[in-house]
Symmetry: C2
Subunit: 459 residues, 2 copies
C-alpha cells in the first residue's frame, strides 16, 4: 500500500487509531475461522460515519481493499483480508443511541455487542430476539452483516426479521439511509435486507434501527434423551407437525454430550445417543402446556428419559450446556472445524445418517449439535494436531461431501454462519452460475472499484 | 410493436392466449389506481415458466417493454403499461403445488389468489398470515411483488417475512431459484427479499415457497369509540407501550364510520369521532386477557364506549366493517383516491391533525382509516365527479402535502401500496438522490435493456 494512502488513512482517523506494524497487525490477520489468515496492510478504527466515508472514498480512489470488521467472531473467514488492504474496525462506533419502548425499537451503532443490546432491552422489559452463540462478543454490525441466527430462530426468526432501517456508507463514499422506524415501508427496493447478510461486501453499516419485542412473561425448558440423533430428529418433526412453534429445539449428539459433561459437569446423561432441549416462552400457563405436550411427543418417539422444567432447578443451565458445546469440543484438539449445513426439518434424520456415513468414509470424527427446529446442523470435526495435514485434508473432503448432501436434500451450505472466503467455492453448486453472475452484477452496482471485502460474496 | 415481435409472442403462448385488438386491450389499460391508464400493444397469458422466459428473452432482444400483472388490484399504477409494450398476465400459473404441514410451508404459482392459499392452509390448521384488503382477488405474485401488508401486520409482519424462496425469470430470460424451504439460509445475497416489493421491475416471479404458521386456536375482537381519531391514536400508543402486540388494531374516522354504516347497516355508532377495532388471537385465555386489558386502556384514554368480544355476537362482522371502508367510501363519488402514508406509531395523532389541516387548506374532504398498529394510515379523498378537474388537482396537491408531512414525521410515502408510476416522483424526497441512483444501478444489474416495467421503481 502506497505511503500516500497510509498517510491519508492516518490523517482521517488520527494517529492513535491507525496501526501498521507487524505486531499490531497479527490480531487482525485472522477471525474465528480456523485455517484462514492473511496479513492486512493497515488497520483503522474510525470514530464516526464521516471517517468511514472518508476511508472508503479514499480506498475507491486508490483501489485499496477495505475489510469491515466488528469483533471478528465470524466462522466463515468473512473478515480476513484475503487481498490485503485495510481492516476497518467498527468497535469505536459502539453507542446505544436510543431505545423507544412505545415503538418497540432500538437505534444503535454497529460496534455495540448483541449482548449489550439484549441487556439494555431487557431493562425496558423488551427482547432483542437474535441470539447467536457468539452474542457476548459479536457486534450488532456483524450480526446484521452475517444475518445471524441462533437458538431462537424457529419461533423468533433471524436478524433480517428485526432490521427496520440502516445507515450505510457505499464503497464510493456516499451515505444512504434505508428503511426507518416502520414495520411497513415499501418505498424503494428492500436495501435494508439486501445489506443484511451481505457480509461486508456491499456497504459499511454505520447505524441500525432494530425491532424489539415485548419480553415474554416466563420461559421453561425440558430435556429428552434419545437412543440416537435420528430419533431426536423425528421427535422434532412431530413437534412442529403438532402445531407447536417453540422458542427452543436444540440437539446434541453423544460426542457433544460427553464433551459438554466433561467440560461443565452438569450431570448430563452420557450413555444416551442424543440430547434434545426443548423450551418455550410466553404466558406461564401456555408455556407449561407446550412443555408437557413436547415431552409427551418425545416419549411417544422413543425418548429414553424426559424431564420438563417443572422438575428442573435451572433451565438456564441446560441452555448453557447447549451454548458450551463448541468450547467443550474445542478442548479435544488443536483444530475445531465447525460447519452449519442446514436441511428441511423432515430431512434431519436422513442428514444425520449421511453425516455419519461421510465421517466413516473419510476416517474423521464428526460431532453434531445444532438448532433442530431450523434443521440447522453444526457438524463439527476436531483435528487433534495442527500438524496433521492429512487429517485436515480428510476433514475438508468430508465437509465438501456434507455440503453436497445438504444441497441434495433441499438444504443449504450455510444456514447462519455465512459464505465468506471459506465457502465461496461451494456457492455455485447451490445457486448456479446464472445467479452467481447476477450477484456479481449487484456487487458492482454497489462497488464499481471492487474494493469492499474482495474475494468474498459477490466476487 | 413490430409485426415480427407480435408473431413471435403469439407463437410462444399460442394464439388462444394472445390479445391485441382494441376491445381486448381495454381491461388491461388500467389497474385499481384511479387517474392512470395506458394502452398496451399486446397482452399475453403464458402457461408456464418456460413461456415466461421466452417472452422476456424476446422482449430484451427487441427492446419491448413487458409489464407483469396478476389481478391488477394494486393501488399505485404499478401494472399500467406506461411505455406500451406487452402486459404479461400470470393468472394461468395458478396452481397450489403443495402444502407441507410438517415444514410449515406452501409452494405456489404466482397466479393463485392470496385468499385461495389462506383457505387451503386453513384446511391444514395453518395460517397464511399476509392479509391485504384485496386478498380475495389479489394474486400471490402481486402480493409478493408489492410486499403487501394488511390488517395483521403489527403481530404477524408483512409478506417479506413469509417468503422462503422464489423461482424467478430475469428480464434476459435466465431462470433463477432463490432461497428454498429453510428459515435459515445465508448462501448469497438475499434475492428473495430484494424481489419482494420490487413491483415487477427486476424479475418475473414464477413460483414461491412461502412460510405458514400454526393457526391460532381462537380469536376475539373488541370495539371502542373515541371523540376523535387523535384520541384513538393515543390509546394505540398506550396499548403497544403496555407490552401488548395484538393481531388487530384498526381505526376509522367519523366519515368512514358513517359511510360504512350507510353501506352495510352494522349498527355502528355514527356520533363518535373515531372507531378503534382491537383484537387478538392465540390461546383462548390469553386472548380474553389481552382484550380486557386493551379495553381498559381505551377507557383510560377517554373512549366513549368499549365493547369486547364477549358481548359481541359476530366479531367477524366488525372486521368486515373495517374491510368495507374503501368500497363504502367509493359510493360517495366518481373518484376515490386512497393513499397509505405511514408514520411511527407515536406520531399518529400528530399526523391525523396534519391531514385535517391539509384537507382544510386545499378545500377537499379526506376520510381516514387504516392500520393503527403500524401507523399505516389510509387517507382517502372522494371527488364527486370525474369532470371536476379542479377538485382532482386540489386532491393531488393535498396528497403531496400529506407525503411531505409523513416524511417530516419520520414516516414513508407508502407503507404497503407501493410506488409504481403513481408515487415515483415523490420517492427522491424520501430516499435522496444517492439512493435513487443506487436503485437504478440495481435495476440495470437485473435488466440491462430496461424492458421490465419501465417508468416504475428503478427508473
Amino acid at each position: 500500500m502506497h505511503a500516500t494512502v497510509r498517510a491519508a488513512l492516518r490523517s482521517i482517523v488520527g494517529p492513535g487509531h491507525y496501526r501498521e506494524t507487524d505486531g499490531e497487525l497479527v490480531p487482525y490477520s485472522r477471525d474465528a475461522t480456523p485455517l484462514f489468515s492473511a496479513r492486512p496492510d493497515a488497520v483503522v478504527f474510525p470514530a464516526d460515519t464521516s471517517e468511514v466515508a472518508a476511508v472508503l472514498e479514499l480506498a475507491t480512489r486508490h483501489a485499496v481493499p477495505v475489510v469491515p470488521r466488528g469483533a471478528g467472531s465470524n466462522l466463515c473467514a468473512a473478515t480476513v483480508a484475503s487481498q490485503g488492504g485495510v481492516i476497518l474496525v467498527l468497535t469505536r462506533l459502539n453507542r446505544l443511541i436510543e431505545i423507544a419502548p412505545e415503538e418497540l425499537l432500538a437505534r444503535v451503532q454497529p460496534g455495540l455487542t448483541s449482548a449489550a443490546l439484549a441487556t439494555a432491552a431487557s431493562h425496558e422489559n423488551l427482547l432483542w430476539a437474535p441470539d447467536p452463540g457468539s452474542r457476548t462478543v459479536a457486534t450488532i454490525g456483524g450480526t446484521i452483516a452475517t444475518n445471524a441466527g441462533g437458538l431462537r430462530g424457529l419461533k423468533y426468526g433471524v436478524t433480517r426479521d428485526y432490521v427496520l432501517g440502516l445507515e450505510a456508507v457505499l464503497p464510493t463514499g456516499e451515505v444512504i439511509r434505508t428503511g426507518g422506524r416502520l414495520n411497513k415501508d415499501v418505498a424503494g427496493y428492500d436495501l435494508s435486507r439486501l445489506l443484511t447478510g451481505s457480509e461486508g461486501t456491499l456497504a459499511v453499516i454505520t447505524e441500525a434501527t432494530l425491532a424489539l419485542r415485548p419480553a415474554p412473561a416466563s420461559a421453561g425448558t425440558g430435556v429428552a434423551y434419545f437412543p440416537d440423533l435420528a430419533a431426536a430428529g423425528r421427535a422434532v418433526t412431530a413437534i412442529i407437525a403438532a402445531g407447536i412453534l417453540p422458542a427452543t429445539l436444540e440437539f446434541l449428539d453423544r460426542s457433544c454430550v460427553r464433551a459438554v459433561e466433561d467440560f461443565a459437569r452438569l450431570g448430563l446423561r452420557t450413555d444416551a445417543g442424543a440430547l434434545l432441549l426443548f423450551g418455550d416462552d410466553g404466558e406461564p400457563g401456555a408455556v407449561a402446556r407446550a412443555l408437557t405436550r413436547m415431552g409427551e411427543i418425545c416419549t411417544a418417539h422413543h425418548a429414553l428419559d424426559v424431564t420438563t422444567a417443572a422438575h428442573i432447578a435451572q433451565a438456564e443451565a441446560l441452555l448453557a450446556a447447549r451454548r458450551c458445546a463448541l468450547p467443550a469440543l474445542s478442548r479435544l484438539g488443536d483444530l475445531t472445524i465447525l460447519e452449519d449445513a442446514t436441511v428441511p426439518r423432515p430431512r434431519i434424520a436422513e442428514m444425520v445418517d449421511r453425516i455419519g456415513a461421510i465421517a466413516v468414509r473419510h476416517g474423521v470424527e464428526i460431532a453434531t449439535f445444532g438448532h433442530a427446529g431450523d434443521g440447522n446442523l453444526h457438524p463439527t470435526c476436531v483435528v487433534k494436531s495442527r500438524d496433521d495435514h492429512d487429517g485436515i485434508a480428510r476433514a475438508e473432503r468430508a465437509f465438501a461431501d456434507i455440503f453436497a448432501a445438504a444441497i441434495e436434500l433441499g438444504g443449504t451450505i450455510t444456514g447462519e454462519h455465512g459464505v465468506g472466503a471459506a465457502k465461496l467455492s461451494h456457492l455455485s453448486a447451490q445457486l448456479g452460475e446464472d445467479q452467481l453472475a447476477l450477484l456479481r452484477r449487484l456487487k458492482t452496482a454497489f462497488d464499481p472499484a471492487g474494493i469492499l471485502n474482495p474475494g468474498k460474496l459477490g466476487s
